[in-house]
Amino acid sequence: MEPEPGFTLLPKSLGVKVGMLIAFTITIAAAFVLYVLFARGVFEATQRLTLLADNAEGVSLGMDLTFSGFPIGRVRRIALREDGKVRIDIDVPNKEAHWLRATSVFTLELPLVGGAKIRAYTANLKDTPLADGAERPVLRGDTAEEIPRMVASLRAVLENVDQITGSGSSLQESLKSARTVTERMAGKYGVLGGMLGGEDNARKVIASIDRANALLASLNGVALKMDTVLSKADQRVLGPGGVVDETQKAVAQAQAILGEVRERLKTVDEILANAQAASASARSATANVAAATTDLAALRAEVEASLRKIASLIDEINRKWPFERGTKIKLP
């Protein structure tokens, strides 16, 4: 092959340049492959964690296991076991393994947008560390599965709300009556009108109150009159020249009369004694009998007169003191 014009312009160091280019390319490619291996954790010691799930939907190889939002492990293998459960093998680098403890909980969440997420939760970071090759169940939360259930219950709720708020519903009726009541309350007779259900009734109540007020006023007058009457009665009964006063006088008179009666009775005693003496000497002296009987008749007349006076006095007291009907004056 003859050299062509373009080839004569070739630089001398052609081979060197091309060699440099190829060497550089190979270096870059090798470095990249090493970097990818490093990034995939090939040079890192890992421990195995196996999660058992009912359903591996959304789980893919290379998926992260996150703790507090930080990836700490990667799904290496997914397999269906003989018993129908799913084994998810996760490699956790040893330097991240301290986040996982024996009491850690693992969840698999399927959000509406974005891929599934495997999360680890550790309540107590001082528990015993999770052993290599540990098997743990994974709790599954699926937003897409929850939605139909939520929609169903939401629909029931909405139907209820619809029923409650529909025209003719009890809520509407209550609101209507509440509005009537408040309208009445805002009216001329205020709360009273609202409570009694109409202006007429309220007017009646107010009229009754007015009448009761008038009645109280007149009762007040009556009470005042009663006061004066009582004070007068008091005066009449207890005042000077009143009933009590008179009664006291009458009692004093009665005492004087009784004193008199006692004196008379003493004389009667003497007379009786005389009569005894006389009767003793009757056999001898019957002539004195006539004189004695005339004395007795006179005495009897005097005693009767005194008793009549007392009777009339008691009648008088009874008349003047009408409140104690059953009062008796006992004679000795």
């Binding site: 280019l21 190829i22 390319t25 870059i28 490093f38 995939r40």
Partner: protein, 257 residues
């Protein structure tokens, strides 16, 4: 479009390309192909395909990456999906767009040139001359170019992807070292073994296609008929674009379907 379709759906042409691809791949993989003369051709080809455009292409790729990363980062932040932004960037930009862009760039710059060169050699009768002189044109001229194009595509892709990774780190975490753990975690998540293997395979296929198809269609030019050269070059480019798109789509299908 009808013109392009005519190139794409010519059955015999495809069969020829496949046969050539089989021979060439075997020759590329056999160490006996590489004599000092073929090595010189390969070095020259790498120099033209990779070294000459290295700086410009890296700058272009960096600018492209930066704009794309910024768009992804800003949009993801707006939609509250920042945690997925870096992964998206790595998957779309580093794994898909930059290799594709590199393959197209090299196809435009060197694929067309190689195709035209081979077509001209065919028209000028140099290929027959070589065969008559006892030298195999496949081993002496074509295989070094194919190997060199593959190496160039791989090299440019690797360098641009590395640059894009650095830019992604800078855009998402600034120049602080504290994003390194998260960045490594996401890189480890995205580049698992099958993805890396697929990435390498895709780069290799792109590199092979970039030189192989233009050479194969360049050979379709007819001796002594200079007017057949543009036809052969154009057919080669159209087929090359078709094959690059096919490889990309197939890789996506295998990866995500």
């Amino acid at each position: 479009m009808a013109f392009g379709g005519e190139f794409i759906f010519r059955y015999r042409s495809w069969r020829r390309i496949l046969r050539f691809a089989g021979h060439a791949t075997v020759a590329v993989l056999s160490p006996s192909t590489y004599s000092p003369a073929t090595r010189a051709v390969a070095v020259r080809q790498i120099y033209f395909t990779a070294w000459q455009i290295l700086l410009r292409y890296t700058l272009f790729a960096a600018l492209f990456s930066l704009v794309l990363i910024q768009i992804v980062a800003a949009t993801a932040r707006q939609y509250g999906l920042s945690q997925h932004a870096l992964e998206l960037t790595l998957r779309v930009l580093v794994l898909e767009l930059i290799p594709l862009l590199t393959a197209l760039f090299v196809a435009l710059r060197s694929g067309a040139a190689i195709g035209a060169e081979v077509a001209l050699m065919r028209v000028g009768g140099q290929i027959e001359d070589l065969a008559e002189a006892g030298e195999s044109p496949l081993h002496g001229e074509f295989v070094p170019r194919i190997a060199a194009a593959a190496v160039s595509v791989f090299s440019l892709t690797t360098l641009s992807c590395a640059l894009a990774l650095l830019l992604a780190y800078a855009v998402f975490y600034g120049f602080s070292p504290w994003g390194f753990n998260e960045f490594s975690r996401i890189v480890g998540k995205v580049f698992d073994a099958p993805v890396l293997a697929g990435f390498l395979l895709k780069c290799l296929l792109f590199g092979l296609a970039v030189a192989l198809i233009p050479i194969a269609t360049g050979l379709e030019a007819e001796r002594g008929k200079p007017k057949s050269v543009p036809f052969a070059v154009l057919a080669g480019l159209v087929k090359l674009f078709f094959v690059i798109s096919l490889i990309e789509v197939l890789s996506l299908v295998v990866k995500y379907v």
